[in-house]
């Protein structure tokens, strides 16, 4: 791991702001679902907040992101507005996709959030294609595909990494290795000790980092982003992490190792970052509390906005199938 890229105080605070937003938003989501106010398949990302926070501290609004069903953390870090998000997962007309996409297909091109896919592995070919476009544009924009450890065993992974390398595309393959693919452990499904090592099969740099460590994660993302912007091609980052709440909301977790889970939750990366910022004198307790309060208020407002937004008209069922002017 390179250590050239240590984030400065401002950047670390920026990361914390994102991570705190992500954590609070997940907590609120689970609360709202539990209360029955919203019904949807919800894939909690709790425990994985540092990864996109550190990533997005390195990205511009016009950089691109393709994420997955477990991707609300990625989107929020990239700048998805809370109201557009909440109205969407509530299936309302003010949702970013008018309620038609839902939690698994959130899209917000204004901030480069181009596709959210529910198909394991499919973020990679699409992000690779966006990177091809960015390369042709020549504007130095970067495309990021996020995906899970389980997704590294599907064909699309292989084809995408090979093509991206051959064409030297400005794409980052960001694997969030949370040690489980639904109910299957990493070891049971994946015939390699470190997914990062698979990069060698594509003449591509591959790095495994502790995704819960903001400094390490930031540096890895930074290096990959700079490579991509400089036209040096793709990077595979394997960010080690853990999901606290099972695969999907309601999951009883019986397949998970209790001790492992307990240890991971005790090492909750967001409060750890908070503590360090204060200990290192990079922020004060008041500052952070203020940020957190703002976040709480914003989320609260977004939830209220969402629940007050109307549902789409049933006629929306058959619009947006083809574009305007196209014969349906």
């Amino acid at each position: 791991m390179t250590t050239n890229y240590t984030p400065d105080a401002k950047t670390q605070l920026d990361m914390y702001r994102r991570a705190a937003l992500l954590k609070a938003n997940d907590e609120k989501s689970r609360k709202v679902i539990k209360s029955g106010r919203l019904i949807m398949p919800y894939y909690s990302y709790r425990g994985q907040e540092i990864i996109p926070s550190a990533l997005c501290s390195n990205l511009n609004d016009d950089d691109y992101l393709v994420t997955i069903y477990r991707g609300i953390h990625d989107m929020l870090a990239k700048g998805m507005p809370l109201k557009d998000l909440w109205a969407e997962i509530a299936g309302r007309v003010d949702g970013t996709c008018k309620g038609k996409g839902g939690p698994m297909h959130l899209t917000y091109p204004k901030k480069g959030i181009m596709v959210t896919t529910g198909i394991v592995g499919s973020s990679m070919p699409v992000a690779t294609g966006i990177a091809w476009g960015a390369q042709m544009d020549g504007g130095g924009r970067v495309s990021v595909a996020t995906f899970g450890d389980g997704a590294s065993n599907i064909g699309a992974f292989h084809e995408s990494l090979n093509l991206a390398s051959i064409w030297k595309l400005p794409v980052i393959f960001l694997c969030q290795n949370n040690l489980y693919a639904e109910h299957t452990t990493y070891e049971k499904g994946t015939a390699v000790d470190r997914i990062a090592d698979r990069a060698a099969a594509y003449r591509m740099p591959g790095v495994r980092v502790n995704g819960n460590d903001p400094i390490e994660m930031y540096a890895a993302a930074r290096e990959a982003v700079e490579r991509a912007r400089a036209g040096e091609g793709p990077t595979l980052i394997e960010a080690m992490t853990f999901r606290f709440h099972g695969h999907v909301f309601g999951d009883a977790d019986a397949y998970m190792d209790k001790e492992q889970k307990k240890a991971a939750m005790e090492n909750d990366p967001v409060p750890q970052l908070r503590k360090r910022l204060i200990n290192d004198g990079l922020a004060t307790e008041e500052q952070l509390s203020h940020i957190e309060k703002e976040i709480e208020d914003d989320i609260e407002a977004a939830v209220a906005f969402a629940l007050n937004s109307p549902f789409p008209e049933v006629s929306e069922l058959t619009t947006d199938v083809y574009g305007e002017g196209a014969r349906a």
């Binding site: 038609k100 698994m104 297909h105 394991v120 065993n153 693919a181 549902f311 069922l317 199938v321």
Partner: protein, 334 residues
């Protein structure tokens, strides 16, 4: 038999019926093996538990959880079947067949023909689908028309516990690849306990309810919606004959034609998109075979030409339900 007595009969769910069929088949024939994502018990016997208990009972050698690799899953099933096994492979959701279409269509379906009958591929591909849980555009498609169009494949889609059990037993015994479609929201629907060892022959429809005014042809979840429409239809004096296709391909032309010849009216209902869906083949065939003797044009009721939407009111309007079936049938009988 009075309803009171009926209620006392032991009941199981469709999910349990499938599980029992798998267990009984594995017990009877040691060549039956199961594979798919999360299917073994350390992984909880599948995301909704359809294969629960099987690996504990028959060992993880015969019930194997796989990586997320659908091509490899179907390839593994095909290969093992070529050397004498009878694999039941799970593709977790029907939309994920899209990453394994080559294995299913170019290989499983064709190897018997291309080898001139030297080899065959006795596999069952279990998959689940259906709207109702707010899963949106990539998790709920009914794609049976693709496979029905594929020479060499068989496609079944049970609507109740007896068929869930009997079709699974028949599919496993069948010498060719069978796609077995499960409906997610129906898993927990209870029904009579199927007789152990019973099979439901592939290619045979079932007249679920006799009637004289209109034949309603359906399968899977929408068959039960049609049954749910009976009261509304009765109240308007419409006597519907309801046919459960059970096997979508090869479909039971004879039973369908005979019924429509009697009623003179035909409504085909499925959850898949209407355009170029399974209903088109049935409508085309019925219209031709009964040309000149139908009282009304053959009607189809399916999903609109759109991906599955997330938002609840849209999702609810997407697939045909009892209300719309009743309306369509009543209007056809006016």
């Amino acid at each position: 038999m009075s309803d009171a007595v009926k209620e006392k009969e032991p009941q199981i769910t469709i999910l349990q019926a499938i599980n029992a069929a798998l267990a009984d088949a594995m017990e009877e024939d040691e060549k039956v093996v199961v594979l798919g994502e999360d299917v073994a018990d350390p992984e909880e016997g599948g995301v909704v538990g359809v294969t629960k208990g099987l690996s504990t009972r028959f060992g993880e050698k015969r019930v194997r959880s796989t990586p997320i690799s659908e091509q490899a899953i179907i390839g593994a099933a095909i290969g093992a079947s070529l050397v004498g096994y009878k694999p039941v492979a799970e593709i977790m959701l029907m939309n994920f067949t899209t990453v394994a279409m080559d294995m299913i269509v170019n290989h499983a379906a064709k190897l018997r023909f291309m080898s001139g009958g030297q080899t065959n591929v006795p596999i069952v591909i279990r998959t689940m689908t259906g709207t109702g849980f707010g899963s949106g555009g990539q998790h709920c498609d009914y794609l049976e028309a693709w496979f029905a169009h594929t020479a060499g494949m068989k496609v079944v889609a049970p609507s109740n516990t007896a068929d869930a059990y009997g079709l699974m037993r028949a599919a496993i015994k069948d010498p060719d690849p069978v796609l077995y479609i499960e409906n997610l929201p129906s898993y927990w629907a209870p029904g009579p306990v199927p007789e152990p060892g019973s099979t439901v022959p592939l290619g045979k429809a079932r007249i679920t309810k006799d009637g004289s005014d209109i034949s309603i042809i359906s399968y899977s979840r929408t068959l039960n919606e049609a049954l749910g429409a009976v009261e509304a239809m009765n109240s308007q004096g419409v006597s519907a004959e309801i046919i459960d296709l059970r096997t979508v391909s090869p479909w039971d032309k004879e039973t369908v034609i005979k019924s429509v010849a009697k009623t003179g009216r035909c409504l085909i209902v499925h959850e898949a998109v209407t355009q170029f869906g399974v209903g088109a083949e049935i409508a085309a065939t019925v219209s031709k075979e009964l040309f000149g003797s139908l009282k009304k044009p053959v009607e189809r009721l399916g999903a609109p030409y759109a991906p599955v939407p997330f938002s609840k009111p849209l999702e609810s309007a997407f697939a045909p339900d009892a209300k719309r079936i009743a309306e369509a049938a009543i209007s056809l009988c006016k």
